[in-house]
């Protein structure tokens, strides 16, 4: 059983709990064990980087240092923001000796150090490149026959550090979902902004983004939007009322984590996968097929 | 008219060179008839001050063997240089440092420490070390200092000629004498041995194919050596190609490869580097791993390529920080 060090980040313990609830069993069933970092801390999210890069790096790198200390080769960061920030930190430390120095000094205080060698991986990356589609196909018990899925990647996992997929036209999730038997729609907005935190701060432009995505998905006849990011899921699932009120247009469409769809295909119950947490619930599989 | 005066002297050597002079047997008589031997510590009692008393350049030729590793040896080298018209470095130690020069890879402290503290048979709780001046109830026997570095004769005084070998052959010694006495001498600083590599006179020369490339090196410890075939063709390191001839390939006659005691040819600054270059260039592999694999057969390049030449060579130890 291959082992990865697992950095959940705050979302997967909070708003994005369903992501974790589906992620762990799915990994388990393909023979991957995630072992959660002891005493991990906030990645600093995208905001902190804007405030003070160095401090942000210190904060983020602590997690990587812990992982290194635990002797893990690679860290899995499912949340897009975490994934981006940790990767960014890794790059900064590599590119700037200055930052590297400061960071490691800071880490020393905590008896830690970071060599910069621990790669930060995204679940998609691991499913496609480490486990492979054949292995996944083999695990499918209930193919997602006829389920029309709009694959939505969001902005962060491929930009700017597109390590495992094409920056402009990512396809890993497409291929993954096809392997599960779903009908994957051509979704041109797959990397378009979901509104991010604007939905909370500046509703007008924020919700517009969300609205555009929902509208297009509906228009292309999607039964469900599959996402990889807790924030995206939150935005796409959370504001249907507001949006319909604002634009007088039906946009209700369930948004789920790709891992939940995997779980369903693997025959894990919706409950275990935390699907009940959706505000706009996803119809049971059979129903869609009809 | 008086015969030319000849002196023999030895410094840090093993005495093998003396044996060689002795082994000249009948040959040396021819020599001795023509000269007066004025100094030969091994052969006759005499007084240091007798030498001091001699006029400068009054000795025709001095054959000095052994490397220089202590103040007294240096002092004597200078004295004899002053007194002699020709000073001849006799044997590997005087010529290129010889085996004792392998010590230049290590520091004096390493040597003292092992000998008097770490050697398995030593019992020495208080870590007693020999003292340059030791005092016991007012008695103070003294010991001479050893240097950190072993040196060749010409690194201490000017040398006119060299007779190589560990030990040199009686034949070379005789030829040298003849040259000296007959006065038809090569240019100053010459080594009085053929200036061609050993392969030139090696009986196994023809047994080497023209396309020997190395995929590995065999060590005599674990290989049965073919008594007829060129050692390099057997994949055994032989210093012959980089070593002066003149020894009549004695070691090869004993079915062992040349270890290079005659030093390099006049055209070479560093015998070891040259041999290394030639061997490595002919390794077959083209990538690092393969090359390293091949080179496993040469675990000790310093001892292999610089067995007798470390003092003379331009390969030198990093002095600080540790040693």
């Amino acid at each position: 059983m291959t082992k990865f060090s697992y950095y959940p980040g705050c979302s997967l313990k909070g708003s994005g709990r369903a992501y974790e609830e589906s992620l762990l069993p799915v990994f388990k069933s393909v023979g991957v064990e995630l072992d959660e970092l002891k005493d991990w801390n906030c990645c600093g999210a995208t905001a902190y980087m804007a405030v003070d890069e160095v401090d942000a790096c210190v904060m983020a790198s602590r997690n990587l240092a812990i992982a290194e200390k635990a002797g893990h080769k690679e860290v899995v960061a499912p949340c897009s923001a975490c994934y981006l920030v940790l990767n960014k930190t890794k790059h900064y430390l590599h590119d700037s000796p200055a930052i590297n120095k400061v960071v490691n000094l800071a880490l020393q205080e905590a008896g830690l150090s970071y060599s910069g060698n621990t790669p930060v991986r995204h679940p998609l990356d691991i499913f496609i490149h480490d486990i492979g589609l054949d292995a996944i196909k083999a695990k499918v018990k209930k193919p997602l026959k006829g389920l029309k899925v709009a694959p939505y990647y969001g902005c962060q996992i491929v930009r700017p550090y597109s390590t495992f997929d094409n920056q402009y036209n990512p396809t890993t999730m497409d291929r993954l979902l096809e392997a599960l038997g779903a009908t994957v729609l051509d979704f041109p907005l797959k990397t378009r902004c979901c509104g991010g935190s604007l939905t909370g701060t500046l509703p007008e432009p924020g919700l517009l983004c969300t609205y555009i995505l929902l509208k297009e998905a509906k228009k292309r006849g999607a039964d469900v939007i599959a996402t990889v990011c807790p924030l995206c899921q939150f935005n796409l699932d959370g504001y249907h009322d507001k949006i319909e009120a604002r634009w007088k247009e039906p946009v209700r469409i369930p948004t789920v984590y790709f891992t939940q769809l995997m779980g369903l295909a693997f025959g894990i119950s919706a409950q275990e996968l935390g699907l009940q947490r959706n505000i706009t619930p996803m119809k049971p599989l059979g129903a869609t097929a009809a | 008219m008086s015969k030319p005066k000849v002196a023999f002297y030895w410094c840090a050597s093993c005495g093998g060179c003396e044996e060689t002079v002795v082994d000249l047997a009948e040959d040396i008589l021819a020599v001795v008839e023509k000269v007066d031997i004025v100094l030969w510590p091994v052969a006759m009692d005499f007084k240091y001050k007798d030498i001091e008393a001699m006029a400068d350049n009054s000795i025709f030729a001095t054959l000095l063997n052994g490397a220089i590793r202590s103040t007294e040896q240096e002092e004597m080298a200078h004295l004899l240089r002053r007194k002699s018209q020709f000073l001849i470095a006799y044997g590997s130690c005087a010529h290129t440092g010889g085996i004792p020069a392998l010590a230049n890879q290590f520091s004096r402290e390493q040597i003292l420490k092992f000998n008097y503290e770490d050697a398995p048979s030593v019992v020495n709780e208080n870590k007693v070390r020999p003292q340059l001046k030791f005092e016991e109830e007012g008695r103070s026997p003294h010991l001479p200092m050893l240097w950190d570095t072993v040196r060749t004769l010409d690194q201490v005084v000017e040398v006119d000629f060299y007779i190589p070998g560990c030990p040199p052959t009686p034949k070379l010694t005789k030829t040298a004498f003849d040259a000296l006495l007959s006065g038809n001498l090569p240019p100053k600083g010459s080594v009085l041995a053929p200036d061609m590599a050993l392969c030139g006179e090696c009986p196994r020369k023809d047994s080497k194919p023209i396309d020997v490339v190395f995929t590995g090196f065999n060590r005599s410890a674990t290989t049965i050596l073919d008594p007829e075939k060129c050692f390099l063709a057997q994949g055994v390191v032989c210093m012959g190609p980089a070593t002066r001839s003149g020894c009549e390939a004695q070691c090869v006659d004993g079915n062992m490869p040349c270890t290079g005691c005659f030093g390099g040819t006049s055209r070479v600054h560093d015998q070891g580097a040259k041999m290394l270059s030639s061997l490595c260039s002919n390794i077959e592999s083209k990538e690092e791993a393969g090359i390293n694999k091949t080179l496993e057969g040469i675990p000790d390049p310093v001892g292999t390529f610089y067995r007798y030449g470390l003092a003379k060579s331009i390969l030198r130890r990093r002095i600080n920080p540790t040693a």
């Binding site: 094409n166 920056q167 402009y168 036209n169 041109p188 907005l189 555009i212 297009e216 | 200036d195 061609m196 590599a197 050993l198 392969c199 030139g200 020369k205 023809d206 080497k208 194919p209 023209i210 396309d211 020997v212 490339v213 012959g240 190609p241 980089a242 001839s245 390099g264 040819t265 055209r267 070479v268 600054h269 040259k274 041999m275 270059s277 030639s278 260039s281 002919n282």
Partner: protein, 678 residues
């Protein structure tokens, strides 16, 4: 330390340090260097001078040699690769053997790369000191003359190759022109018009092509590739593999009867020449003006090859086919399914490499949807689309059968982009505007041209740009973000939406169009690396072949006798290409007409007395220049075969091999020299 004397004569060195205007003087204190060198033993005089390579500079050297009885000359200036020859000649003119000269590189290796004047000056002193010690060991040498074989090989039959070949042939030189495709013509043959004059490419190219085809001095081998290059300047031995076209060119009259008579009634195979927009049959001729006018049979699709080919390329003849083509050919009997690879071996003295370029693969920029949205085209496709002899006979009909009402042309696709190619492809701005003009002409559609910067350096180019503005092409300044079929407004429905930040207007625009044209950039050929090795050339970091000097030797390579022409050396338009091809031809002519070249006498030789015959050097020589003489039991170097790498010298265990110009003494004294100056 004392200067070792060379033989008996006393060494008298003259030293010159060049200011090179400010190039050196700005960073190196030349007078101080001269002053320091003057103090060294053996140095008779030491001068600093503004431009040593200038006429007066060289005269100075010559006078001094005579006046001060100099027998060694050292010049500290630029790289020896640049001016060593100049100063050797000056030394010779002064009455000395040219190899009593040595050069110190204090410009490329010093003044241009350092920032601290003190350090740079010290470095200059050190290097000069080394040269002074080295030159004392120099020996008089005779340069080796090598006869030049007057024949020339031209690789690549594009406009560059064609022009170079013609130039040489017209000068009466034998030329072998080798082209990989069935016809010469290259990219230019695919173009419709050429900017800025808009004269038809075919009209100006085809006459040259047929001239080449029938020129008595040119041996044209199409559908062929160079497989082996041996030898060196003046005497190359080349192997050319001629792929079987299953037609005997001598018997084929070019009547093309075979094509209609093919068992395939309709063309059904993708047509490479038309960028896959059109179709062709198994037996075909690339395009009407193809040279030679000889059809080709494509073994991949011809029924007669259904049972495949023998390793040698000949057909395992099958009766799957009625062979109507053979009947059609009748008693000409030009069709021969048993043809196999032919390997020709030729000897030439010079080589011109004109292997051209490859256009950027638009699928590498998925955001522009090429391959995803069918109405997205590459520029080259449009060239064929608007071409009267193209697949649509010149009508602009899109893949969906419609004629576009609005067209967007996106510049710099795969150029000036850190994610793909960093360089500017030089021709895209111009050909984009050309296409804008042609498309407008053919369709009268609205044309939007999206550019980053408009680059129009060239005669009549800027004027052409203004003409386009007048013609009403909409120029939008900004790099396009994406081309998407996602419609946000009703009017966008069913269209391709181009999202771009208009950096002049300062906001993001969504412009819906029917057709998108990608102005793809120029890249090195896919096999550039192999070709580079084949001819022992270098590539720049971007992969184009590297010229010897960007300014002073733009068509030479680092291998003497091999020259570059056209886009294989870097993107350029047709006029520049032709000019460069002419230059390359001229370079070759220089050698041919002189009849010989003088080679560096840096060969190695064995000291016969000293060689012990240890045989260590024998396996080392890649040119088998070293042999073992069994009778004498010694190794011997054949000077004619020795290329002067010096590997055997570095490896001779008894120091019995010597290399001219790079003698042990010379290098050791150089080391001593650089170390002598603190």
């Amino acid at each position: 330390m004392s200067v070792k004397q060379n033989g008996k004569e006393e060494v008298r060195i003259g030293f010159y340090v060049c200011h090179c205007g400010h190039n050196i003087a700005a960073m190196v204190d030349c007078p101080e260097v001269a002053k320091y060198i003057e103090t060294l033993p053996g140095v008779v005089l030491s001068r600093d001078y503004k431009y040593m390579c200038s006429e007066p500079g060289q005269d100075l050297v010559q006078q001094d040699i005579r006046e001060y009885k100099l027998n060694r000359v050292v010049v500290a200036s630029c790289s020896p690769l640049l001016h060593e020859h100049t100063f050797r000649s000056a030394t010779e003119a002064g009455g000395l053997n040219p190899f009593f000269f040595h050069m110190v590189n204090i410009r490329e290796h010093n003044s241009w790369v350092h920032t601290d004047r003190k350090e740079a000056t010290e470095k200059a002193k050190g290097l000069a000191h080394a040269a002074i010690q080295r030159v004392a060991h120099h020996k008089a040498l005779e340069t080796k003359r090598v006869e030049i074989n007057p024949a020339v090989l031209v690789v690549g039959g594009g406009i560059a190759g064609i022009h170079a070949a013609m130039t040489l042939a017209n000068a009466g030189k034998k030329v072998y022109l080798v082209e990989r495709e069935p016809s010469i013509g290259g990219h230019m043959a695919k173009f419709d018009k050429t900017f800025p004059t808009l004269d038809c490419a075919a009209c100006i190219l085809t006459p040259k092509m047929s001239e080449v085809g029938c020129h008595p001095n040119i041996t044209l081998w199409t559908y062929s590739e160079v497989t082996k290059v041996d030898g060196f300047v003046g005497n190359f031995t080349i192997q050319v593999k001629r792929k079987p076209r299953y037609i005997d060119p001598d018997l084929c009259t070019g009547c093309q009867e075979c094509i209609p008579s093919c068992v395939f009634k309709e063309p059904k195979f993708s047509d490479e020449f038309n960028e896959g927009l059109g179709k062709r049959k198994p037996v075909f001729i690339s395009f009407p003006q193809a040279t030679p006018q000889v059809v080709v049979i494509d073994p991949e699709v011809c029924l007669n090859f259904k049972r495949g080919k023998n390793p040698d390329g000949s057909a395992i003849v099958s009766d799957k086919c009625k062979k109507t083509c053979v009947d059609a050919c009748g008693d000409k009997k030009a069709i021969d399914f048993t043809q196999k690879d032919i390997v020709e071996e030729i000897k030439v003295g010079n080589i011109i490499v004109a292997t051209g370029f490859k256009t950027f693969d638009a699928e590498r920029t998925p955001q522009y949807g090429y391959g995803k949205h069918k109405n997205v085209y590459t520029a080259l496709e449009i060239e064929r689309l608007v071409n009267a002899s193209g697949p649509t006979g010149g009508d602009v009909i899109m893949r969906d059968g419609k004629t576009p009402k609005s067209i967007g042309i996106i510049h710099c696709v795969g150029s000036r982009d850190y994610k793909t190619n960093k360089w500017c492809s030089r021709v895209c701005c111009m050909y984009s505007m050309k296409l804008a003009h042609l498309l407008k002409e053919h369709t009268d559609a609205e044309i939007y041209s999206f550019y980053i910067d408009m680059r129009t350096p060239g005669k009549g180019y800027e004027e052409f740009y203004n003409k386009m503005l007048e013609e009403g092409v909409h120029f939008v300044r900004g790099r396009v973000g994406e081309v998407t079929d996602w419609a946000f407004t009703p009017e966008e429905e069913g269209k391709l939406v181009i999202r771009v930040e208009d950096t002049l207007a300062g906001y993001v625009r969504r412009i819906p169009v029917d057709m998108v044209v990608l102005a793809t950039g120029l890249e090195p050929q896919a096999d550039a690396q192999d070709v580079r090795r084949l001819f022992n050339m270098s590539c720049g970091s971007e992969g184009f072949f590297l010229e010897r000097h960007p300014k002073l030797a733009p068509v030479n390579t680092f291998s003497d006798g091999i020259y570059l022409a056209g886009c294989c050396q870097g993107p350029k338009d047709i006029p520049d290409t032709v000019a460069q091809a002419g230059a390359a031809a001229a370079e070759a002519l220089v050698l041919i007409d002189r009849g010989y070249i003088e080679q560096e006498p840096n060969t190695a030789f064995i000291l016969d007395e000293e060689c012990s015959g240890c045989k260590s050097c024998l396996p080392l020589c890649p040119y088998t220049a070293i042999t073992y003489q069994e009778d004498r039991k010694k190794a011997v170097i054949n000077e004619a075969l020795c290329k002067g790498c010096g590997t055997c010298v570095g490896a001779c265990p008894s120091g019995s091999i010597v290399q001219n110009l790079f003698d042990d003494d010379e290098i050791f004294s150089e080391i001593a020299g650089v170390m002598a100056y603190e």
